[in-house]
C-alpha cells in the first residue's frame, strides 16, 4: 500500500498542440479509492496510464509511496492494472493468467499456486481455473482480470473503466463487489470511469477532469452539493443540474415571471462581482412539482409539462417555463401522481439549494 501523487504532471502527445493532461496536481491517500471521472477526451485514462508507466510524462513528476517513478517502466512501479477490455491472455488458462504476474516476480511454484487458489476463492472463480478466457462470460472475465490484479498484492490498483463492458445489472453488482474488495484489501486504488454514477458510488474521493485539466477533487457529497464550476455542476448528478442564465437583481434571480431569492453568500459574491446576470443551478431535487413535496411558503414557478420519465423508483418531469427565452427544466415528481405532457403545473423551488455561477468563467459564486 502506498500514496500516489501527481505533481504538475503533464502529458502532451507528439504533434498535438494542447496537452492530454495539463499540470495535474493530485494526491491519493494510502488505501484510498480515488475515482477519475470526466467525459471522453478529458484525460482521465491518460492520467491513469501515466501512473502505470504506459504513457510518457512530458513534464512534472509522479510519485508512488513517496518514490519518484516518472521515468520508471511499468514493471518497476509495483502496480496492477485492470483494463476495460480485461486484456486476459487468450492462450493461457485462467490459472495461468492469474499466475502470470507471480511468475514474472519469480514467486516459488508452491507459493504461487497457493496465492492463485486464494485469489480464485476470493473472487469465486475456482471452478474456472482450467478454462481459457474465450470460454468465460463477460462477468467471469472481469473477475479473472480482477484476480490477476489482486493476486500479486501490488502497492496500487489501477482500473480503467473495468465495468463498461458489462450489462447494467451486472455492472451494479460488480461495482459493489469492487468496493467491498478494495475495502477488504485496503490497497490504494485509482479508478477511471466516464460514468458519474459509478464515480459517486465507488469513490471515497472523486476527481473531475475536463480537457486534461483537473476541475475539482472532493468527496462525492461535496461535489454534489458544492460544485466548483458550471462544468462540475452539470456533470455530477443524474439527472443533471438545471443550469440557466437568468437576470440577477442583487438578492434574487428572475425565473420566468417569478423572483426567486438566492442564498446570501452567493448573492453577496454576485453583488461584489457587479453581476446583473448569473447562471442559476437547481438540482432536479430542488424543483418539485408543487403539492407533492408539501413545500408551502416556497416560491412557485409555473410551466408546461413536456416529457415524463418514470423510472419506477423516481419520476422526472421535463417542464418548460415561459420566459423571454423559454427555460426547460427537469424536476422531481411523485411517481404515484404523475402529470401528463401538456399539463400546466406549479413548481416549488427550494431556493436555499440554489447554486450561482459566474456567466463569464463559470466559477461558483459564494461558498
Amino acid at each position: 500500500m502506498a500514496t500516489v501523487e501527481y505533481r504538475h504532471a503533464t502529458c502532451t502527445y507528439p504533434g498535438m498542440g494542447s496537452p492530454a493532461v495539463a499540470s495535474l496536481d493530485l494526491a491519493v491517500d494510502d488505501g484510498e479509492l480515488m475515482v477519475l471521472v470526466g467525459p471522453s477526451g478529458s484525460g482521465k485514462s491518460t492520467a491513469l496510464r501515466m501512473l502505470a508507466g504506459l504513457e510518457m510524462v512530458t513534464s512534472g513528476e509522479i510519485l508512488i509511496g513517496g518514490r519518484v517513478v516518472t521515468g520508471a517502466p511499468p514493471k518497476a512501479r509495483d502496480i496492477a492494472m485492470v483494463f476495460q477490455s480485461y486484456a486476459l491472455y487468450p492462450h493461457l488458462t485462467v490459472r495461468d493468467n492469474l499466475a502470470f504476474p507471480l511468475k514474472q516476480k519469480r514467486v516459488p511454484r508452491q507459493e504461487r499456486d497457493q496465492l492463485v487458489e486464494e485469489a480464485a476463492r476470493m473472487l469465486e472463480i475456482e471452478e474456472m481455473l482450467d478454462r481459457r478466457p474465450r470460454q468465460l462470460s463477460g462477468g467471469q472475465r472481469q473477475r479473472v482480470a480482477m484476480g490477476r490484479a489482486i493476486v500479486r498484492r501490488p502497492q496500487v490498483f489501477l482500473m480503467d473503466e473495468p465495468l463498461s463492458n458489462l450489462d447494467a445489472k451486472l455492472r451494479v453488482q460488480t461495482r459493489a463487489e469492487i468496493a467491498a474488495l478494495q475495502r477488504r484489501l485496503g490497497v490504494t486504488t485509482v479508478y477511471v470511469t466516464h460514468d458519474q454514477v459509478e464515480a459517486m458510488t465507488l469513490g471515497q474521493r472523486v476527481a473531475v477532469l475536463r480537457d486534461g485539466v483537473l476541475q475539482q477533487c472532493d468527496t462525492p457529497r461535496r461535489l454534489y452539493e458544492h460544485p466548483c464550476n458550471v462544468f462540475v455542476a452539470g456533470f455530477v448528478g443524474s439527472p443533471a443540474m438545471n443550469l440557466d442564465r437568468v437576470p440577477f437583481d442583487g438578492t434574487a434571480v428572475r425565473v420566468g415571471d417569478q423572483s426567486v431569492p438566492v442564498p446570501g453568500q452567493a448573492a453577496a459574491a454576485a453583488r461584489r462581482a457587479g453581476l446583473t446576470e448569473v447562471v442559476l443551478g437547481l438540482r432536479p431535487d430542488a424543483l418539485v412539482v408543487a403539492g407533492d413535496a408539501g413545500a408551502d411558503g416556497t416560491p412557485h414557478l409555473s410551466g408546461v409539462v413536456q416529457l415524463v420519465e418514470d423510472t419506477g423508483s423516481d419520476a422526472w418531469v421535463h417542464v418548460e417555463i415561459p420566459s423571454r427565452v423559454p427555460l426547460r427544466v427537469v424536476c422531481r415528481a411523485d411517481s404515484r401522481r404523475l402529470p401528463t405532457p401538456g399539463d400546466a403545473v406549479p413548481l416549488a423551488v427550494r431556493a436555499a439549494e440554489a447554486h450561482l455561477f459566474d456567466p463569464a468563467g463559470g466559477e461558483r459564486l459564494g461558498g
Binding site: 504506459l54 517502466p73 511499468p74 514493471k75 502496480i79 492494472m81 483494463f83 491472455y89 490477476r148 500479486r152
Partner: protein, 320 residues
C-alpha cells in the same frame, strides 16, 4: 404417398429435418437436393482432373521401364518395381558430357535454399509486421501501400529485373543469389499476412504484460509471440512452398552452374527437368520416382496440417 399430402400435412416419406409440409416446400427440398448433387458431381470431376497427374506420377514411379511407354497407357501397373527409386539416386542429371549433380545433392540444395528463405522471410517480415502494426513512423503509409503494390505484381514478372540486379553484382549462378531472388518477392505477402496477425493482438494485452512485470522483450516473447505463432507458421509454409516448387527462378538464376561446398549445385526442380534431354532417351521411371520423392513431403505436410494452414492464412485477416 406424397400426392396425398395436403397443405400443412407432413409427408411421411420426406424424413429427416428437411420435412416438407407443403408441395412448394417439397419442391424446394427436391431442388436443393438436385443442386447439391450437381455441385458434388462438378467437384468430383474437378478433383479427378486435379488428382489425375498426381495419380499418374504415383503409379508410373512403380512401373518398370517397358510398361511406361505402352499405348494405351496402363492406368494400373501390370508389374510393380522399386528400381526406379534406386536409379533416381544414381542416374546423372542433364549433362550429355559433364557429370551433373546427383538427385540427392539437388534435394539437399532445395531443402537448404527453402529453409534459408523461410528463416529470412519470416525473420524480416516479423520485424516489419511489428513495426507497421505497432508503431507510427514517418512513411509508414507509403511503405504499406508500396508493399501492397509489390504484393500484386506477378511473381514471375520480377524475374528479369531481379536477374539484371543480381548480374550487376556478379551473383548469378550462386546459391545466395537464388535466396535473395526468393526472399524479395515473398516479403510483401509475408509482411502483410503477419501484420494482420500482430494487429489482431490487442495492444491492451501487451500493456497488461508490461504492468504484470514483463519487459518489452519478454512481453513479446511470452504473450505476443504465442498469439501470432499460427501466422508465423502460415507465412513460413508459404515461403517454403514458393522456394521448394519454383523452377523458373532456379533455372535462370542458379541453373546447374551454381556451386556449393566445391560441387555443382542445382535445385531438385531443375534437376528433374534436366532429365528430359533431347540428346538421350528420357529415363521416365526415374523421373517419376524422383518427382514423387520431391512432392511427397509437401503433400503429406499439407494433408496433415491443411486445416491449421487455412486457419492461419485467414485468422489474421479479420479481427476476431
Amino acid at each position: 404417398m406424397s400426392g396425398a399430402a395436403g397443405p400443412g400435412r407432413v409427408t411421411p416419406d420426406a424424413g429427416g429435418p428437411a420435412v416438407a409440409a407443403t408441395p412448394e416446400a417439397a419442391a424446394r427440398v427436391r431442388r436443393r437436393r438436385h443442386g447439391s448433387a450437381a455441385a458434388t458431381l462438378v467437384l468430383v470431376v474437378l478433383a479427378a482432373i486435379w488428382f489425375f497427374p498426381i495419380y499418374y506420377m504415383l503409379i508410373d514411379a512403380f512401373k518398370p521401364g517397358y510398361d511406361l511407354l505402352t499405348y494405351p497407357p496402363q492406368l494400373w501397373p501390370a508389374h510393380w518395381t522399386l528400381s526406379n527409386f534406386q536409379e533416381a539416386f544414381t542416374v546423372n542429371g542433364a549433362g550429355p558430357t559433364v557429370p551433373q549433380p546427383s538427385f540427392l545433392s539437388s534435394l539437399f540444395i532445395s531443402v537448404m535454399v527453402s529453409l534459408i528463405v523461410v528463416v529470412f522471410s519470416v525473420g524480416i517480415s516479423l520485424f516489419a509486421a511489428l513495426a507497421t502494426a505497432r508503431f507510427n513512423f514517418r512513411g509508414r503509409s507509403v511503405m504499406l501501400v508500396a508493399l501492397l503494390v509489390a504484393y500484386m505484381v506477378p511473381f514471375t514478372s520480377l524475374l528479369i529485373p531481379i536477374f539484371i540486379e543480381l548480374n550487376k553484382f556478379g551473383m548469378i549462378g550462386t546459391v545466395p543469389a537464388l535466396i535473395i531472388a526468393y526472399v524479395a518477392p515473398v516479403l510483401p505477402f509475408t509482411v502483410w499476412t503477419l501484420r494482420g496477425f500482430v494487429a489482431s493482438v490487442p495492444v491492451d494485452i501487451e500493456e497488461a504484460a508490461l504492468t504484470d512485470g514483463c519487459s518489452r522483450l519478454s512481453a513479446f516473447r511470452k504473450v505476443i509471440f504465442p498469439l501470432i505463432a499460427p501466422g508465423l507458421v502460415a507465412t513460413a509454409i508459404f515461403a517454403f512452398i514458393l522456394a521448394w516448387n519454383d523452377f523458373a527462378f532456379a533455372n535462370i538464376i542458379l541453373g546447374n552452374s551454381g556451386s556449393i561446398f566445391g560441387g555443382q549445385a542445382e535445385t531438385a526442380t531443375v534437376w528433374l527437368v534436366g532429365l528430359i534431354n533431347p540428346s538421350r532417351v528420357t529415363p521416365w521411371g526415374e523421373l517419376f520416382a524422383a518427382s514423387l520423392i520431391f512432392t511427397l513431403p509437401v503433400m503429406l505436410f499439407f494433408l496433415t496440417f491443411q486445416r491449421r494452414i487455412a486457419a492461419g492464412l485467414t485468422a489474421g485477416a479479420v479481427k476476431g
